[in-house]
Subunit: 343 residues, 2 copies
């Protein structure tokens, strides 16, 4: 692919992103001062079509980028656009208040992202699955019940109420908790739920209800149960011309509603700390997202994956801006989560 083809492809993609109309040879030749005639551009576009970079909705329409064309654009032609001053300010604004709970932070991040991009945002906060175990506490409640409090290494808290088994004394549980905390502190949750609890179960057979409760909390945290997954600006999707079709929207929204599916989708992307991963059209895991692109980044805090942010938009997405924004917000959110952990 020579330089002129690249330039034409880039202009074509950017024009189409802007206007949502198929781009004709004349538009490219004229508007951008390319210095060649439409006929030349036509020849080049025919080549690009043969390469699978662009397609024609029908003869006598202009060209539209194909998924492959977007891919090439994102990988080779695009300049990442960092957020402007105004945007940056409204991002900072969200993270100003340093006492908001993590859950709210995640919610605000989602709202922010969808507001700034006018696309749909997906944000997942620190879950239990990747966290380390810090401490367990048991509080008696209401006489015959227990409140089990689980503290993680990254500063989140999970609680669960439990009916106390009649035959276990508070002292017994207290001893168990001491042993548990000294033995498991710092381990990964997965390890705790597995080997860690197995050992304890033998030493404290009567504490099994509590231990099972702990395991249940860890597993529920992994499974997600929609907790900590925030979705913002789904209605923005409806403003995109490619989603004027209700049936398209319906299939897309059906999948968006399944928290589980979205979690899994995000889980397999962007494992690298520095990356911002772009998934275009058919590259996405679910066929329902055939017409969408996803820009994902993982948020690492102290070496541990503790959040993910993503933007979902039409394939005709402003990749440049979105990638820049996602990278920026990932940093800022990471800093905030770090603060929450360290105090």
């Amino acid at each position: 692919m020579d330089a002129r083809k690249q330039r034409i492809l880039r202009l074509l993609v950017e024009d189409y992103i802007e206007t949502a109309h198929p781009v004709g040879s004349r538009a490219i030749a004229r508007k951008h001062g390319l210095g060649v005639s439409p006929a030349t551009v036509r020849n080049e576009m025919a080549d690009l079509e043969e390469m699978g970079m662009v397609e024609q909705p029908h003869t006598s329409a202009g060209r539209v980028p194909s998924s492959r064309g977007y891919r090439y654009y994102v990988d080779n032609l695009m300049a990442v656009g960092l957020p402007g001053r105004v945007e940056l300010e409204s991002v900072r604004e969200v993270y100003r208040d340093r006492s908001t709970p993590v859950r709210v932070l995640i919610r605000r991040t989602a709202d922010l992202l969808s507001e700034v991009t006018q696309y749909t945002s997906l944000v997942v906060g620190p879950g239990l699955e990747r966290a380390s175990f810090r401490r367990l506490e048991i509080l008696p409640v209401n006489g015959n019940r227990l409140l089990v409090v689980l503290l993680t290494g990254d500063g989140t808290v999970q609680t669960r109420l439990l009916d106390r088994p009649e035959n276990v004394s508070p002292e017994y549980l207290e001893r168990m908790v001491i042993v548990l905390n000294s033995g498991l502190s710092g381990l990964d949750m997965e390890v705790v739920a597995g080997r860690g609890l197995d050992r304890l179960r033998q030493d404290f057979p009567r504490g099994i209800t509590v231990l099972e409760c702990l395991r249940g909390m860890i597993e529920a945290g992994e499974a997600g149960d929609d907790e900590g997954l925030c979705l913002g600006g789904a209605a923005n999707m409806l403003r995109q011309p490619e989603f004027r079709d209700v049936d398209k929207v319906e299939t897309l929204f059906s999948i968006l509603e399944q928290g589980r599916a979205i979690r899994e989708l995000l889980a397999e992307l962007s494992l690298d700390p520095g990356d911002v991963v772009v998934t275009i059209g058919e590259e996405n895991r679910y066929p329902e997202m055939r017409d969408c692109s996803l820009v994902t980044a993982a948020c690492y805090v102290g070496g541990r994956l503790s959040g993910r942010i993503a933007i979902l938009g039409p394939r005709r997405m402003r990749y440049s801006r979105v990638v820049g924004l996602v990278a920026t917000v990932r940093e800022l959110l990471g800093q905030e989560l770090w603060r929450r952990r360290m105090g």
Copy 2:
């Protein structure tokens, strides 16, 4: 309104709910064995139109119920349809596992309602605003931080992490918590946040950070911050023929995305423990819901409002089934919440 008009209105509403097509005089006269000719029905329908009960999309279309017609139908003509055995079974299934946290219970209720009705569901769990104060606990975390745990009368738990002010000793806090718990236990949260804390602040001036944190938790719980509001089956809306129009959907979804707005909407409805409230079309608070109806019920547990459930659908809603289902689920959810509270 004589008996025959009532009958015709009822048939018309139910036919329209079924088919979504304007109902003509012939269809009514013939299909339901009314024993009169289409011409007679026409005369009656003209009267109903004059009364504002039905409208014509255009001359030579059949009639469609107006909001007023639906209102009359719901108030006077409709027989509440209790859920069938199959439905009842799938409702019970959701509440089978008695150890699921309240939050998950709410989520499942929302999913259930939207699944069974094929409309959109809105469910709010027990918030802090109407709860009573039970106990506060403070756990040291990580050396220099505190975990504040707030337990409510209805068995929910809220936690917040707090930087510990340097100059306050653990003993000081411990004393404060003891006084706090003995003095405030059982009071309404509102009272705690107001008078309750005011008094303590004087006795424990150095504990102000913790006290403010507690107030913050109560107020955040009131404001909601989207917590505990679950929305299910929004995509179902798109399957309704009246929402084939993307613009309509967009305005509706924009308001659905605003958790605050939805909370307020629900908050002003169904204050009576036994009621199921139906709000039709323009009766709704937000003009964005002009084309929708809402069926709401409040869930009272031990005399305290501790949840709300609602179904949002098109004005052309199966009121009979939905009202029956909402009433049933309200009861079952109430029982479950009661269990959570009592243990």
